[in-house]
């Protein structure tokens, strides 16, 4: 058995872990990254990226299907067909390109990547069992836990067979005829919408009174409208029970319903991966079910850090990346601290939803200004004028507390929303910034003008 020493040892090669590793390597720290699968984690392999590939495929197919019907563009076309296996292969190509890219970046940063499974012996010692069975013991000065999260299971609906998690549904090679999605959060809605566009009969079962329980009703309305147009059946305050013989038993209030489904997708949240690799033996402080961390991503044990989904909500790849960068710099002795004002969150539903900062419901008696895309020229020329941009601001100084938008393509606006919040922008700052015409971004400027009582186009 060999024992080697390193400055930084990172367990988990997802967005949190690989960014921490690259930055640590760039800063000249002797860094080892342990990953049992492919680098890139959930995000690159079975999460963000594959789901966006599927969503794009579904959109292209849906657009093409629309052209087979009467359309305002005067285009005549035959109904399209799809070979989902080929689309999945295309998606796999993107994933391998990205994971390969990450591997290259890690190599360039002189990070030592160990393919294998880590077992924590104590806060400074980790045993890695490589894929070929060889065991290596590593001594590290700093340990970073970046083991991510996995899909939450429902005891009566264990994954396997026709009961799928998001991972399996993204690898399907044929479109299921009838898909039932249990859990109306953003993952369920994104995949459910895509499958509906690809031709599946989709039913969404949500236990809460509304879809996307963390968003407010105004943001959800355009999405709910579109789901209805796609013939997606939405059951709220409904609890999935059992699945047998192609039928899912659902309790809607007191009534028992049977929903025919060829596949059941369960997306009821994600649980942190903090068991099964010796982490329990460290006895780290918890924050609910997650690891408790401070503003430097330090856990309760000196020299042990945690980043990403193991540290709790919001479980977002960009949060993990920012934490990974922070952790590397903390270990390198830089005077950095977590002081972010803005954490953008995007739902790639149809239309898309972007949330940055405080919602009106969270901001007390703050001012709220809304500009609808119905008043935006570019939105009309894309034949999608549903949705709006909304700014939440303090009444005294016009300080922007939050910006949200719902509409086709608004995910690309997340950047300017986050920038405004992070820079501490006021309504005047946004209103005085010229936006290119004709773009959907003009709605942001108009919302700010409206907040100042000086709207031009409404």
């Amino acid at each position: 058995m060999t024992a080697r020493a390193c400055k930084v040892l990172i367990i988990g090669g997802g967005p949190g872990g690989y960014v921490a590793a690259i930055r640590a390597g760039q800063l000249g720290l002797d860094t080892v990254l342990v990953e049992q699968g492919a680098v890139g984690g959930t995000c690159l392999n079975v999460g963000c990226i594959p789901s966006k590939a599927l969503i794009h495929t579904a959109e292209v197919f849906s657009d093409a299907s629309a052209l087979a019907l009467d359309n305002p563009f005067g285009i005549t076309s035959a109904a399209p067909q799809i070979d989902l296996a080929r689309a999945v292969a295309w998606k796999d190509g993107i994933v391998s390109r990205l994971t390969g890219g990450v591997a290259t970046l890690l190599r360039k940063a002189r990070v030592n990547v160990l393919q294998g499974r880590a077992q924590i012996m104590d806060g400074k010692t980790v045993e890695v069992t490589a894929t070929d069975g060889t065991v290596e013991t590593l001594r590290c000065e700093n340990l970073v836990i970046a083991t991510g999260a996995r899909a939450q299971t429902i005891p009566t609906l264990p994954f396997g067979g026709d009961i799928l998690s998001s991972t399996e549904v993204l690898a399907l090679e044929t479109v299921p005829k009838r898909l039932c999605v249990v859990g109306g959060g953003y993952i369920g809605l994104e995949i459910g919408t895509a499958m509906a566009k690809l031709g599946a009969q989709v039913t969404i079962v949500e236990a809460a009174p509304q879809l996307l329980p963390l968003h407010d009703g105004d943001l959800i309305k355009p999405v709910a409208k579109r789901l209805a147009a796609l013939n997606v059946q939405v059951l709220t305050e409904a609890r999935a029970q059992n699945y047998a013989d192609g039928q899912l038993e659902v309790m809607v209030g007191e009534t028992r319903e049977l929903i025919a489904a060829d596949k059941v997708l369960v997306t009821v949240g994600r649980v942190p991966n903090i068991d099964g690799f010796g982490l329990e033996s460290l006895g780290l402080d918890r924050n609910g079910r997650y690891l408790a961390i401070d503003g430097h991503c330090r856990t309760s044990m000196r020299g042990v850090y945690a980043v990403g989904d193991v540290t709790g909500e919001p479980m977002l790849a960009h949060r993990a990346m920012a934490q990974g960068d922070l952790v590397a710099r903390v270990i390198a002795g830089e005077p950095v601290v977590w002081d972010k004002r803005a954490m953008p969150a995007v739902c790639f539903t149809d239309p898309e939803i972007v949330v940055v900062g405080q919602l009106p419901t969270q901001a007390g008696d703050a001012g709220v200004a809304i500009f609808p895309f119905a008043g935006n020229g570019r939105a009309m020329t894309r034949d999608r004028d549903d949705g709006f941009v909304r700014i939440v601001f303090t009444r005294e100084s016009g300080l922007v507390l939050g910006i949200q938008a719902v509409g086709a393509g608004v995910s690309e606006m997340a950047g300017q929303f986050a920038l405004a919040l992070e820079m501490g922008a006021t309504l005047t700052d946004i209103a005085a910034t010229i936006q290119a015409h004709p773009t959907q971004s003009e709605a942001v400027q108009e919302a700010a003008l409206k907040g100042l009582g000086m709207a031009l186009h409404i």
């Binding site: 303090t394 005294e396 100084s397 992070e422 820079m423 501490g424 009582g453």
Partner: protein, 431 residues
């Protein structure tokens, strides 16, 4: 449009004039009703004066530091003219109406059909008089700054919570940070200390600082001080205090002050000449039966003396609670006028910073003041060996015109005996 005057309101009994401490507006500013116009200062309290109208500030009645009579014009505001209080309308002179009428252009530009008050600049950030440090934002509020500014501050070890922001919504700009760097680097960098320096900073002495200056000058000019310094073994007193604090339950924590108040009450029985006022202009000494104990308190704006009225009526815990409340009110500038005046004897304590000895200045027209110095464990000779004892000096000044040295020293010896054997304080008839 009408121009109305905002008058200096009657802020309390007997106050005839006030001093302007801060202007929150300048001519041309748009103000809303109840927006703060100015802070004015009476003898010791600061009063905020709000606007009665929504409109435009025309002119100000004086500069910061100037004194205005109660009822005088604080500033004038041009407004839409409805809802004018009769009293105020009377104050509008005919000449002012003419002035407005003769400037129709200005009226058109400054007065839209419905003036958009939302566009009005928020009242300027409350600034304390020069030289008085103050927190730039309410406690707990995160400072607003761009990531680049935050990073620059962190690298330089600057806590942004202490940096005032000049940008919109109080945002801290790079320039604000430059100012902090400039202030820090001046004394630090050895290169710059050797450079010849030019210029003088002129700080107007206004508001509370001017009051303090006037009162200190008066006391020092009129009163020939004699200061007596004595050391007191407070070991027993401290043991008693610790025991009582351990058992206090929900009651306020006892500091040394309630014990001093109790000891003074006891000492005044034999020394009524100490709880007195010397009205030097009239040639009268007033001996007071009630003990109104002034307690010199440091506030962010300077020294104020809240008064524990009728200290003779309080028990230890009662006094502790009231003293804490008064000090808190004084620090927040919320103490009432009657809570800041009328003392018959004053205690000044600098707490742990209290020095070995001090020469306190008497709070005119009182005749004595008790200063409390730092407590420390010192080796004391008990006749056979050195023993560690908790020692504390008291430094008391007396008005030598009316208190002789002998009286002063016997009073101090009495006080010392009471503090060294605290049981004596509470032995009502035996001591």
């Amino acid at each position: 449009m009408t121009i109305s005057s905002i008058k200096v309101p009657d802020v309390g009994e007997g106050v005839a004039e006030v001093e302007i401490v801060v202007w929150h507006v300048k001519p041309g500013d748009l103000v809303r009703e109840d927006d703060l116009l100015a802070d004015v200062m009476t003898d010791k309290a600061t009063v905020e004066i709000p606007s009665l109208f929504a409109g435009t500030v025309v002119d100000l009645g004086g500069a910061v530091g100037e004194t205005l009579a109660v009822g005088g014009v604080l500033c004038r505001i041009e407004h839409a003219g409805t809802g004018v209080e009769p009293e105020v309308r009377n104050a509008v002179h005919a000449g002012e109406r003419v002035e407005t009428a003769s400037e129709p252009n200005r009226e058109r530009t400054t007065a839209e059909p419905t003036p958009d008050i939302a566009k009005a600049e928020p009242p300027t950030v409350h600034k304390t008089p020069a030289g008085m440090p103050s927190a730039p934002r309410p406690e707990g509020q995160t400072p607003l700054a761009s990531p680049a500014v935050r990073d620059r501050a962190r690298r330089a070890g600057i806590d942004l919570r202490t940096v005032p922001g000049s940008g919109p919504a109080g945002r801290i700009t790079d320039t604000d940070l430059d100012a902090v760097f400039a202030a820090r680097s001046t004394p630090r960098s050895s290169a710059s200390t050797r450079q010849r320096k030019e210029g003088t900073e002129r700080i107007p002495v206004i508001g509370l600082r001017r009051k303090i200056a006037d009162r200190m000058a008066l006391a020092n000019a009129r009163i020939p001080h004699i200061t007596v310094i004595e050391e007191v073994d407070v070991s027993a007193l401290e043991d008693l205090r610790a025991t009582m604090n351990d058992e206090r339950g929900e009651r306020p924590k006892l500091t040394l002050l309630p014990f001093l108040a109790a000891a003074l009450r006891r000492a005044f029985i034999d020394h009524p000449e100490m709880n007195a006022h010397f009205l030097d202009d009239e040639g009268i000494i007033e001996r007071h039966n009630a003990i109104h104990l002034g307690i010199a308190t440091m506030t962010p704006n300077g020294l104020v003396v809240p008064v524990l009225r009728n200290a003779e009526t309080y028990g230890l815990f009662g006094a502790a609670g009231e003293i804490a409340r008064l000090a808190d009110a004084a620090r927040q500038g919320k103490a009432k006028r009657e809570e800041l005046s009328g003392s018959t004897f004053t205690i000044t304590s600098l707490g742990p910073l209290g020095a070995l000895a001090t020469t306190p200045i008497i709070n005119h027209p009182e005749v004595a003041i008790l200063g409390v110095n730092r407590m420390a464990v010192r080796p004391m000779w008990d006749g056979t060996q050195f023993v560690p004892r908790r020692m504390m000096n008291i430094s008391a000044s007396f008005d030598h015109r009316v208190i002789d040295g002998w009286n002063a020293t016997t009073f101090i010896q009495r006080l010392r005996a009471l503090l060294q054997t605290p049981a004596l304080i509470f032995m009502e008839d035996e001591a």
